[in-house]
Symmetry: C2
Subunit: 403 residues, 2 copies
Amino acid sequence: MTKKVLKFGGTSVGSIDRIKHAAKIIKREYDKKNKIIVVVSAMSGTTNNLIAHAESISKKFNKRELDVLLTSGEQVTSALMAGALTDLGIKSKSWMNWQIPIITEGDHSNSRIVNMNIKDIEKYLSKDGIAVIPGFQGVSKSGDITSIGRGGSDATAVAIAKIFNTDSCEIYTDVDGVYSSDPNKVPLAKKIEKISYEEMLELSSLGTKVMQASAVQTAMMHEIPLHVKSTFTNRKGTEIINQENIDYKKVVTGVAYSKDDAKITLIGVEDKPGVAADIFEPLSKNDINVDMVIQNISADGKKTDLTFTIKRQDKNNAASLLESNNKIKYETLQMNDKVSKISIVGAGMVATPGVTYKMFRTLAEDKINILAISTSEIKISVIIDEQLTIQAVKKLHKTFNLD
Amino acid sequence: MTKKVLKFGGTSVGSIDRIKHAAKIIKREYDKKNKIIVVVSAMSGTTNNLIAHAESISKKFNKRELDVLLTSGEQVTSALMAGALTDLGIKSKSWMNWQIPIITEGDHSNSRIVNMNIKDIEKYLSKDGIAVIPGFQGVSKSGDITSIGRGGSDATAVAIAKIFNTDSCEIYTDVDGVYSSDPNKVPLAKKIEKISYEEMLELSSLGTKVMQASAVQTAMMHEIPLHVKSTFTNRKGTEIINQENIDYKKVVTGVAYSKDDAKITLIGVEDKPGVAADIFEPLSKNDINVDMVIQNISADGKKTDLTFTIKRQDKNNAASLLESNNKIKYETLQMNDKVSKISIVGAGMVATPGVTYKMFRTLAEDKINILAISTSEIKISVIIDEQLTIQAVKKLHKTFNLD
């Protein structure tokens, strides 16, 4: 007997037919005598519609009420899924987060799961029932409805897998796994059979939408094996597991890119201690996340240039914060939002010398100018001209034998 | 200082603009230093859409899950309304029924409110906050989500008015009060300024959609003054109050009609004790509500004809129950679903002789055949040919000086 969490994302439950189809997948697992907890997202489109409603009421819609509003989406899917399973002759019941309860801490729209009562659901599972739980939501210690951020259904699934000590956590989605690059743009991209948590984490952070980063992180901390599969095909999917269980044959596992970055360069900044702190303080206070930072060595020891990247949506806010702050002195502010970030990710990189050189050489061959660089143990990211994104990704994909 | 319940129906919160408009009405009452509890329905269309979803999953969708599904509608409106009030600078907060809690008893889809914890909300009101509560829903003693039937938001509003001991309960809707007849069909229909609970109850039961009957009944039992008003105009509306507080100038208060009836006649039924009970037993067991019953006197003391009316939606079910039951003996079953029910309602009727005669005379003048009759202290209903409905209603409206 195996205990499993099966999580279905928004597109997998995006219509009545898809909910019925997902119910059949669940039945297949149930018929194999697995104990099953189902976690569902809101039907695709629902959350965006509700957000649009809130925004047309107020540009600063109350955050507590936004959680009450948005969590209705997963409530709907849970009821429909439990109803669909019942219709297939399976004992099934939905549990709202307050009924369990799943206790969260932290701010509205950005809570994290800290505790969960498993007794009633364990009992129900032992009597061959399937529990259906809405993802994304929780209840605070004071009894308010909370949510754990966009994509939070993954976090719910992993937290449930952890607390119920399940054997696996299967993430059903609209792609059939994690690819070596975006299969829509890089036709030669291949599905990765096994990937480490660390690599998946880098890919998630880089914009690969397969799984939410913080959910992968929780799975990594508690060594919960994840399995990303397509709801719409019967193919094998991608296992996200411990690095030591993977036999690496390639240095680089995948090439990712994102187009939502912007680059700001401050020219003629004073080259003295504390200046960088002064510059990043107002950004940090306004929740603007700075990604890469490059500071050139100043020629005269007096003035230097400082370049950093942020999310494109923050660019105007960042620029006006810098311009309006008298403490920050510089000559010119240059902004470029026609940039993209290209990253190569691979756990094999750390043991292989020359990967960085190989990446830069490849881009240089195509005369692609590198505007900024950042590296980690298993990742190298560069900022380049947005127009050259796909060309660069394809070239790197080939260079690192991923085609 | 006055304490009020303000209830907004589905069309009154049917769009974002309407929610904003309703929020302004609430603000106006709040600015007059009233303590306010708002009760909201689901946005118009939402409940029907959700029901359609459930029905496309299963013809017998699980009733527990249906309540989980449908109550999401009022949750959405509550959050949007609390958000809209906050945006107007008013302290406001939504309370889901499980957060209060509002405890219900009875079956899913058909629960009734039995208890409510008022402490937290009273405290919030005393600190000048406006509480927003979703109508229609509750939570059972075992912690399941329940609903109190279609139109149940009225019942929630009245129950809250009762338990919080408010000074009034204002029902905001898409009509500006209760009319002497359907103003869409009878142009001379007039708004009734004051109507008794009993009359309103008859009108509600007869299909006047202004208020749900059981809510009126609760208000009557606890003498809670109701005030039905339009969300869209500033007119005075209709007060629903104790009969003794009304100065009746007219015998008949209103003329109502419904077109959802069907008439079944069993010809050649044995005329002996227990036959009627045998006939109505299977109908009752299948939740088919029999409205009027007419049994003709048998000429020979052996056979008679029995006529009764039911809701049109039940007609096929009723006919097959009668036909398949061997205990029930009759010669022919005649069904007529092209009928409508016309009713005159008025608390003044009981003290005025000849009202029945006057009604029948009026219909006879237009050669309108009466197929069945039923009377109560304050109501006379007749079944007639459906085609003649509006003609009959207009004529009666004139006869009883309502034009």
